[in-house]
Assembly symmetry: C2
Homo-oligomer: 95 residues x 2
Amino acid sequence: MNLPFKALSDPTRRKIIMLLKEKDLTAGEIAEHFNMTKPSISHHLSILKQADLVSDERKGQNIYYSLNTTVFQELINWFFEIIDYNEGVNRDENR
Amino acid sequence: MNLPFKALSDPTRRKIIMLLKEKDLTAGEIAEHFNMTKPSISHHLSILKQADLVSDERKGQNIYYSLNTTVFQELINWFFEIIDYNEGVNRDENR
DNA sequence: TAGATATTTAGACAATATTCTAAATATCTA
DNA sequence: TAGATATTTAGAATATTGTCTAAATATCTA
């Protein structure tokens, strides 16, 4: 749970996530949205990948990035725990 | 939205949140749970406070810290947007 | 009011993170 | 296979963050 939180702590990476929410994009297309070099964006993508928040797939010369919703679900569960949301969720208290 | 994400990126601060989820605690009681000096914990508390994730209230010599669920709700909404959860939420698509 | 307790503030230092340029790797196409 | 395009890797510079010690502030009580 540490890597995803670290990954989300940077605004550039959160913006990348917002872009990928709309549709899958190549590393180059992502870079176009930022005032930053491609190696820097590549580094951010690598951190998102390590955190398992995105996945990548090469198609010819391009590498397409896409969102990995699984870890986001886990994060949402973490937050629910904080605010003690427990309707419909398996919890000892409900048994 | 930047401060809360930054605040949550540190494991010590997330552990503090987990402690406060159970009950309000003084700065000293919080510090007892960590292998770290009190000034360091105080600094972490200050970051959580700036991010509006916790609030503090002095009672005599002690300062009690407690969780501020509002910002957590906003964070959950941010995550819902990512995974495109939109039941019961006001969205253009539903109009 | 002096001393004890709880906590924060200030300032320094080391560890991490972000960004850059230059170079390397992978793939496509003429 | 040579050159073009897309992307990553390596390494360095700078900025930010986390932690510490020492000192300051606030409150309580004898």
